[in-house]
Symmetry: C2
Subunit: 364 residues, 2 copies
């Protein structure tokens, strides 16, 4: 199917269905079938200005996740507090007219700065005990995007990804080249020791066989991501990760690969994924969710289908946040946990265990 | 839509349609609708052994491309000769029972060794005058895949990608890490000078403003790729590139990103793409083609729709080769040229200009 404009999926589809159902009320619809279709199309196009106005009054939404997997009990409250703080700050920015790119970048930056998550400060360590970060950002009007992989000594890889998008002629830089670009952009190199937390060092030592094996380990989970839609229907997606604990030097996961770790298209929606990067890449998970939405599925149904496919083909689990051009959204995982939070006018949401969703009304 | 098994798409659909049309012959089909559907499903599953036999008698096909873009006249014959030689060797391997992974790897290796193509020997140079190679290989039964980006001094990056798939616990390694892995695998480091051709050096000097501007330049085109299907319906895809001429250090294009530069799934088919990596990544071109095929489109229609989408959303051009689980295939581009060749039992195909397709019958 040719991808359709967001408003066409959300509104045009309804218009066409409405016209065709009128046609079906005729006693013998067959001879006029083409005419009915033509009328439906004309009606659809004649409603364009109305639809665009509707689109311009979209209810803004922002969603964040702090990684899918099994989160040890002693880290659950910290993870929830982290995603809720991130979404609150991002919401205030979105509400005050911030661009969706600024909003998702800010949300992810806050979680990169929060040592509980596996991104920025608190990233997992590779086999050599080093930090190696991946990040990607994408906006949905022109599909502009920026990604970095295997960068070192960077406090906020998501900001570097944004600079790749806006200040370089490419969209994806890796390793030394990405760090060279960071220097030319004036981004300070942070000493590795400042990015390593005690918890991640213990996890690494455990993998090395040197630490007490009773250290509760959430494995490599804790990737962070954010998606948002503004009142004009613009969407964006941002994802950042320290990758797998004890990964090989140079290992790249799903995050910097457009369509795997994230995707944003005003015509389709926005997604950020989390889980085992190897499996997410194999099924291009973010784009897969949007393909289902393109076929008429709502975000939750689309997320379920895409995650079922991942489970069936890879035997792995994952989670994701997704939103449609009409503002409908979902936070869904097939792993045991995924910390996530969402905000829209007057409402806040969050969850941690699979299927959990808390809503709170707020005055604002 | 939930992805369906290849044989279900190709054969199961027909079976279900047949059963349902029988059902529709009843005077009032509505009360028995569920029963008809159940019968259709039972019939489908009862035909499983027959279908698998049909699948096991698939006609093997191999296709290769040598890059899309505008190929200068003095390089056209060389490019055509290169893809035809590659496909002939790959065909002989496929015919003699070689695995699809061996077939696509061998096809790409031959083109990496051919200095006319922008991969292996003859790769484009980055801004620093260095070679930086990307490659990806994928097989369709388990979605196993291997990718490398920004590797240096490697004669056959596609072989390294295969080793990442088979000998590492990851599927994608970049830069220094990928080169370290190559050393542990015993792959010899080739001096950069052995990989640089006079033509690519002239193109680089032209970008630097130092060479005679009359040097006919094919830009950065010349990525190579191969896809194949064997008699059991197994598919594979391989792609390798030197990337953009004068690219930044660390720039990564579409090739190592699964779903952008290539994809292979026995349930859907196989694709290898070529063109401007930045645009191909933005639309996850390889996976997009297969999504259209999943919706019932034949490879040519699917390729047209996916490339139209790329043109509409990025303003760029590209080309690709694609094949379906039933062995149908296409080589299609919206750029001026794409050198390509194909082989199946008793027939050889090739083309260079957009829309061009030559067929030759051969005794074998």
């Amino acid at each position: 199917m040719v991808p359709m404009d967001g408003w066409m999926m959300g509104f045009g589809g309804m218009v066409a269905a409405f016209s065709l159902s009128l046609g079906n009320r005729r006693s013998d619809p067959r001879p006029s079938h083409n005419k009915v279709l033509r009328n439906a199309l004309q009606l659809q196009f004649s409603l364009l200005p109305v639809i665009q106005v509707a689109c311009a009054n979209m209810i803004p939404v922002v969603l964040v996740h702090g990684g899918a997997g099994t989160i040890p009990e002693h880290r659950q409250a910290l993870a929830l507090a982290g995603v809720r703080a991130s979404v609150e700050a991002a919401w205030q920015l979105l509400k005050s007219g911030g661009s969706v790119l600024d909003v998702v970048e800010h949300a992810v930056k806050m979680m990169e700065d929060d040592p509980v998550f596996n991104a920025g400060v608190g990233s997992s360590l590779n086999v050599a005990g080093e930090i190696q970060e991946d990040a990607m950002i994408m906006e949905g009007s022109m599909l502009n995007s920026g990604a970095v992989s295997c960068v070192k000594n960077i406090a906020n890889p998501i900001h570097l990804a944004r600079l790749v998008m806006e200040k370089s002629k490419h969209i994806y830089l890796s390793a030394t080249g990405a760090n060279m670009f960071a220097r030319t952009m004036g981004i300070p190199a942070v000493p590795t020791a400042q990015l390593i937390t005690e918890y991640r060092r213990l996890c690494w030592e455990k993998s090395l066989g040197e630490a007490n094996s009773t250290v509760p380990d959430e494995g490599s989970k804790g990737t962070v991501g954010a998606i948002a839609i503004d009142k004009n229907g613009n969407v964006a997606s941002a994802t950042s990760t320290g990758g797998l604990n004890f990964k090989m030097i140079g290992r790249v996961g799903d995050v910097p690969c457009i369509g795997a770790g994230g995707y944003a298209d005003n015509e389709l929606g926005a997604v950020s994924t989390t889980g085992d990067g190897e499996s997410i890449m194999k099924v291009t998970l973010a784009r897969l969710v949007l393909f289902h939405m393109e076929q008429g599925k709502k975000p939750l149904e689309a997320a379920k289908l895409a995650l079922q496919h991942l489970v069936r083909r890879t035997g792995d689990t994952a989670g994701l946040i997704a939103l449609a051009p009409n503002g409908e959204w979902t936070a869904h995982c097939v792993s045991e946990h995924m910390s996530w939070a969402g905000a829209t006018q007057g409402r806040r949401y969050h969850g941690l265990k699979r299927g959990e969703k808390h809503m709170q009304e707020v005055d604002e």
